[in-house]
């Protein structure tokens, strides 16, 4: 069964692309969850839906259209979250639902089918081509390099922003970098995972790891491992039971979360 599973080139592509994207999402997710920015991932996926619908309607390549739009919204959402005078979560909700509506309207006006909408919503393991493999490999190299080289700064900024600011660290540059990398991760990842489910691969691994691990370093490493393992398991489930990939990966993540949550009970 496993041989048959791996004999399809599209599955191998999906596993390579998706595995790399999940790795990136999990690393970024640790900072996003701890900085209380989880909703940004969710907001970005909806903006991504609107942007990809637009690209589809214009018959343009998806990445060049969607990536800049989502990146711009990432900065906007970040600013909204930092600004306490505006209700950040409400603003994110308005932006994401508007983007969703925009995407649906564009798709139906341009003669797109419900199948188009559905594949964007729920993702498809057939979506990845060769170029996507290269792009996700590049993204993974960049994200991992940033995490290794700037690990200590990321920790300081995530743990206590005002202390880091007072010490002279350029906090807003780091936030922008994280937002930008998240935007690209979301745009590439949402075609496998789908709009509705992409934010789960950002949020789940970090939360799962935090159930068991208590040091920042171990949470980061565990998130990356959990994320990739859950993704591969999820794709396998998707193949065997013929269910949408995104939903299967979320189910695998939920299972991991449940398993990790059991640990405190066992230890006690």
């Amino acid at each position: 069964m496993i041989m048959e599973f791996l004999s399809h080139p599209f599955i191998v592509r999906a596993i390579v692309c998706g595995g790399l994207i999940c790795l990136c999402a999990a690393l970024l997710g640790v900072t996003l969850v701890l900085k209380r920015f989880s909703m940004i991932g969710d907001g970005l996926s909806h903006v991504g839906f609107g942007a990809l619908s637009l690209a589809l309607a214009l018959n343009a390549a998806p990445l060049p259209v969607a990536a800049p739009i989502v990146a711009a919204s990432a900065f906007l959402l970040l600013k909204l979250s930092e600004n306490s005078r505006i209700k950040g979560d409400a603003a994110i909700a308005i932006i994401s639902t508007s983007a969703l509506a925009f995407g649906v309207i564009v798709t139906s006006l341009s003669g797109g089918t419900n199948a188009d909408i559905s594949s964007l919503m729920f993702g498809s393991i057939l979506a990845m081509n060769k170029a996507d493999v290269y792009i996700s490999a590049c993204l993974a190299v960049i994200v991992i390099t940033v995490f290794v080289l700037f690990y200590n700064k990321l920790f300081a900024v995530t743990f206590d922003e005002s202390f880091s600011k007072a010490a002279g660290v350029n906090v807003s540059a780091f936030n922008s970098l994280i937002a930008l990398l998240t935007a690209v991760t979301v745009v590439i990842g949402m075609r496998i995972m789908g709009t509705l489910l992409i934010s789960s691969i950002i949020i789940f691994p970090a939360l799962t790891s935090m159930r068991v691990f208590k040091h920042f370093r171990s949470v980061v490493i565990s998130s990356a491992v959990v994320s990739v393992v859950c993704f591969i398991f999820g794709i396998f489930l998707s193949f065997v039971f013929e269910i949408p990939a995104g939903a299967a990966v979320v189910a695998a993540n939920l299972l991991a979360f449940a398993l990790f949550s059991l640990k405190p009970l066992i230890v006690k």
């Binding site: 200590n152 202390f163 007072a166 660290v169 208590k214 040091h215 370093r217 171990s218 949470v219």
Partner: protein, 224 residues
């Protein structure tokens, strides 16, 4: 160390800090006291350079590294981090990519001085309030060897833990320390200088001068 001249801080429609002047000399301990909303935190943020002053100026006599402890430790309760990781992050500005052996030793040394060496591998969120403040203090001390700025460091501590913290701070004789505090008794006992911020009213001087000024009564007789 630091001079504040006629400083005012205004937000869009109100004035948080109005025309404050004071001076902190090297190795002095300044307590900033006042009611909620009197602008203590705004003034602190201006000293840290996190916000701009609207009028006047804040001048340091030389470039100074600041060790800062924010209100409630500025910390989220579910954060997974060991006490050592937290203290190490105090030196984040002085390192390019990775912490050196010396920096790690310095962090451990500061933890010893603050009495939290034993807790170094424990999870930060599982420490007691007093231990957390000591860990954060160790972090602040590894960021600077001259100026500590502490915003309400006693919040959430019981009487004994607060008393311990006061004693620890009093032992840091080579440090210039600026503390924002609600605890007027502690301020009167441990401050070299006091800055009182009231509504449209302020005072700067020694604790003795503060008692003589009669402004103590505006604290509702809380002091003995």
């Amino acid at each position: 160390m630091l001079k504040c001249k006629d400083v005012s801080i205004k937000y869009e429609n109100f004035c948080a800090v109005h025309d404050i002047s004071f001076e902190v000399r090297d190795c002095e301990c300044l307590y900033i006291v006042g009611e909620n909303g009197s602008g203590k935190t705004s003034l602190l943020k201006a000293i840290l350079g996190l916000i701009h002053v609207s009028e006047g100026e804040i001048v340091f006599d030389k470039k100074t590294d600041i060790g800062y402890l924010s209100q409630n430790g500025g910390v989220k309760n579910d954060f997974p981090a060991s006490a050592f990781e937290v203290v190490l992050s105090g030196q984040v500005k002085k390192t390019k990519f990775f912490y050196s052996k010396e920096q790690k030793n310095k962090a451990l040394q500061k933890m010893r001085e603050m009495g939290v060496f034993e807790a170094r591998n424990k999870c930060f969120r599982e420490l007691s309030g007093g231990q957390r403040q000591r860990v954060l203090l160790a972090r602040a001390l590894s960021a600077t060897d001259s100026l500590l700025i502490l915003d309400e460091p006693l919040t959430g501590l019981d009487f004994a833990a607060a008393e311990e913290l006061y004693k620890t701070l009093a032992q840091l004789k080579d440090m210039t320390i600026i503390i924002v505090s609600h605890d007027i008794n502690g301020a009167l006992k441990y401050a070299d200088k006091m800055l009182y911020l009231g509504m449209g009213d302020s005072f700067f001087g020694t604790p003795d001068e503060f008692i003589k000024s009669g402004k103590l009564s505006s604290f509702g007789g809380g002091a003995k």
